[in-house]
């Protein structure tokens, strides 16, 4: 797909509306990390991912691994926008029997390639997918979305080391650097010091962008697509809760739903007219 910057921005805006609606209807879930990642996943799916929504299990599809699987509303909104699932399916978020389970799950939802929910697992899984593609002589790529709090899991670094060792250049990470985790700011919970330097020292190609500036997001994705001799990571500086003023940079909205009044305000801010 080729979409203009303004079309991508509109794609992401629609997804933001769906994210807030999902969490509001369920009165549970994770809006903050969904809103911070959404510009990145929107651009990735709309312009880069080689996938077939009507054939979600197509062998040579690119893989997208949402390792921070609690930010599932963001992924569901994009999958609906892409046509993997319907907008009606979004009503099944956190509902018994629904495709849209609390955390993205490959057994439940078409277009989902990883059963997430436990942090620190997606990069290793993605490494396996990427190695398999190489063994298959397939052109498919594996994109993994990590949270910044998630980087505190030691297993992330086991995978990072192995990916560089095996020169797995078809493995591409996007880091949602929103500076907040569950209980508080990362700076309070566990300081991580120089994150780009850490990845470089592990043998990765690193680029930093503003994860809400669509032009920068597109050049960041260009960087990931053109780096093929080494694993690469796009560190996207984002704002948790981006697009909804009272959620922005607010640890309370990591895993909390808006009330009626807040919902109305969010819809207004996102330019959505509620009948």
């Amino acid at each position: 797909m080729t979409l203009s910057i303004s079309e991508l921005e509109e794609f992401a805006r629609k997804c933001r509306v769906e994210i807030v609606k999902m969490v509001y209807r369920a009165q549970a879930g994770h809006p903050g990390g969904s809103l911070s990642e959404i510009d990145l996943i929107s651009a990735l799916y709309a312009t880069r991912m080689r996938v077939r929504p009507n054939q979600p299990k197509w062998d040579d599809r690119d893989r997208f691994i949402l390792s921070k699987g609690h930010a599932s509303p963001g992924m569901y909104a994009v999958l609906a926008e892409m046509g993997f699932i319907s907008h009606e399916d979004l009503h099944s978020y956190r509902v018994l029997g629904g495709k849209c389970q609390g955390h993205v799950d490959m057994k439940w939802c078409p277009g989902v390639d990883f059963s997430a929910g436990s942090l620190g697992m997606g990069l290793s899984f993605g490494l396996g997918c990427a190695v398999a593609a190489r063994l298959d002589n397939s052109e498919r790529r594996t994109f993994v979305m990590l949270g910044d709090g998630e980087l505190q899991e030691g297993s992330v670094w086991e995978a990072a080391m192995a990916a560089a060792h095996h020169e797995v250049g078809n493995l591409k990470v996007i880091l949602d650097r929103n500076r907040i985790q569950n209980d508080d700011f990362c700076e309070v919970q566990m300081r991580m010091f120089d994150i780009p330097a850490k990845w470089r020292s592990f043998g990765w190609e690193v680029k930093e962008i503003d994860g809400h500036n669509m032009e920068e997001v597109m050049s960041g994705l260009d960087f990931l697509e053109s780096t093929n001799d080494k694993p690469s990571i796009l560190i996207a500086h984002t704002i948790k809760g981006a697009g909804v003023s009272f959620m922005e940079d607010n640890p309370s909205f990591h895993g909390a739903a808006p009330n009626d009044e807040q919902f109305a305000q969010a819809m207004a801010e996102l330019g959505e007219v509620i009948a």
């Binding site: 369920a26 549970a28 879930g29 699987g69 956190r94 509902v95 018994l96 029997g97 629904g98 389970q101 609390g102 955390h103 799950d105 439940w108 059963s115 997430a116 929910g117 436990s118 942090l119 620190g120 709090g149 998630e150 505190q152 899991e153 030691g154 985790q181 569950n182 209980d183 309070v188 919970q189 566990m190």
Partner: protein, 312 residues
């Protein structure tokens, strides 16, 4: 039984009540708001060690603290304690270091987070570790009381707490709550229901339903799975001759497994196990999950009928 409270809040309150002991330290893995250690953290920041999202590190740092004379209370979701299972095995249980691990949000009752968050195997795995005391209290008061006994326990422990509120049952009965001793909640001679955690109140409901049909059930809250109160089970066998176990946990290896192991090597009685039928959960409300998993009072009652029918 109208007062409702979450067992995880009992844990949080207990940490405050044992804080007078200067050796008590609290360890968190970015879920203190959820496991309720956050109150301790606010009041005693220097005795609270944030481990970030790093459960494995938390358990082993806890072992080091315990080996240095401290009494660490580490908590995260039940499911994420399992990430550090081998650390618990080799680093904590093997040297018998008194690290106290609390896993909140256990069981399918935890709800809409879905299968990745619903631990159905924690009680089983920790029960297999030598030296480790395993508990799953049913209400706020018993969680509070059991946790307060842990600083005096010279061994590691695992306690599962629940996310959602359950009836408060033990106000005024605090002295009956002792690690390793099951509590008899009602007496009957037809069948004994042994339950833990959120299914204790479901078992009480089942006993009422059975009473309506003229069947008298004993209900026991087996808050400690290990060491198991074998004397009590022996007396239940003698008194009732048929046993039902009930737990929001896989039927393999948990309370049902523990009771079965005891029965086959002591006094035999027919046993019906109510628990998760060796499958993963999904997103759903707590009450919906107990129905989907077939573990609410209705299914406990049915199991009681089956157990009674098997008496010889």
């Amino acid at each position: 039984m109208s007062e409702m409270a979450a067992t995880r809040d009992g844990y949080g309150q207990a940490l405050l009540e044992i804080a007078d002991n200067p050796k008590v330290v609290v360890m968190e893995a970015d879920l203190g708001k959820s496991t309720k250690s956050l109150h301790f953290r606010k009041k005693y920041p220097t005795r609270t060690i944030s481990c970030g999202i790093g459960e494995q590190n938390m358990l082993l740092a806890g072992a080091g603290l315990a080996a240095s004379g401290y009494i660490p209370f580490a908590s995260t979701f039940a499911i994420f304690t399992e990430r550090a299972f081998e650390q618990m095995r080799n680093g904590v249980a093997r040297p018998n270091l008194a690290v106290h691990l609390c896993g909140s949000h256990g069981g399918t009752h935890t709800g809409t987070d879905g299968s990745s968050a619903q631990s159905i195997e924690d009680l089983a795995i920790y029960r297999t570790l030598p030296n480790v005391v395993v508990m799953h209290p049913s209400d706020y008061v018993s969680t509070l009381e059991l946790t307060k006994q842990l600083p005096g326990l010279d061994k590691p422990s695992y306690m599962r707490t629940a996310r959602n509120k359950t009836p408060v049952m033990y106000r005024g009965r605090e002295s009956e709550i002792i690690i390793g001793k099951g509590i008899t909640l009602c007496q009957g001679t037809d069948v004994a229901i042994i339950a833990c955690g959120v299914l204790v109140s479901e078992s009480m409901k089942a006993a009422e339903q059975l009473a309506d049909k003229g069947i008298n059930a004993t209900v026991v809250d087996m808050h400690t799975l290990k060491p198991l109160d074998g004397d009590l089970i022996n007396s239940l066998v003698a008194q009732c001759g048929a046993i039902v176990t009930a737990e929001d946990h896989n039927v393999i290896g948990g309370l049902g497994g523990a009771v079965a192991e005891h029965l086959v090597s002591n006094h035999y009685a027919p046993l019906e196990m109510v628990g998760v039928a060796d499958r993963f959960g999904e997103s759903g409300q707590s009450d919906e999950m107990l129905e989907v998993m077939k573990i609410n009072s209705k299914y406990i009652e049915q199991a009681a009928h089956r157990a009674i029918a098997r008496k010889s």
